[in-house]
Subunit: 158 residues, 2 copies
Amino acid sequence: MSLLSDLDRQALSRCYDLALKSYEEGGLPIGSVLTRGSAILAEGHNRRVQQGNPILHGEMDALQAAGRQKSYADVTLYTSLSPCMMCAGTIVQFGIPRVVIADATSFGGNEQFLRDRGIEVIVAEDPRCLALMQRLFAERPALWNEDIAEDHCSGAGA
Amino acid sequence: MSLLSDLDRQALSRCYDLALKSYEEGGLPIGSVLTRGSAILAEGHNRRVQQGNPILHGEMDALQAAGRQKSYADVTLYTSLSPCMMCAGTIVQFGIPRVVIADATSFGGNEQFLRDRGIEVIVAEDPRCLALMQRLFAERPALWNEDIAEDHCSGAGA
């Protein structure tokens, strides 16, 4: 955890709060925060259930909330769960140089895709975020499979 | 063009209409259509300008309009312009098996990324869509650079 600054820890904690809020609304427990320099730029959480919107993963919701930006060169993206291929592709396309992931155990696999494209990726393995995803797998497995477009009902995701 | 069915041609023509509509609204001229079997499932166009929303590329707008889907296994995605890394990542994540691109000359580079992941990619090179992108490069270069997150003002995109 030594790579994490105070702002990193604050932003990761906020990702957890947003994830928990979304889960308590009946949705998927994945939250995301964007920072620019020392300030929070925007935040979001998965809204598949809340808005019936499959593209609003946590990271996408935060990027939508940030609105139009001239550049993302000084932006860090924090997420409670490791980015799927949609969100990883978006991070590359937008030129976001730094990604801090709370939980890459419950779901992952695109960290190297990001690193291969020059993006700094830090995995914090936050136990609260991990535990919340394990609750999702146990309590709402079909919703999770829908969110990662898995057309079956196994427990944990790909 | 021999790989294109009547539905393919109809959907590509609709992509152009949506792209033109968006351009006439002051936005980016990129449209997208989703089909399932022989029917149009949803359609969309870039809404960066219209909604101040950087994640709503044409393809993302169509996927948002389609709402929650159990599976994309029988969906074809049509787009007036070759998918950027955000949209290509989304196509992979959602498990869309077939993509038909009107114009891969004005912008491109992710066709092989899609093919490497088992997705059928057809490039139609529709002259109307290509001409509309050339108008964008000539008339609104800064807007185009913003849309592909290029932090400078050269003419055509990466």
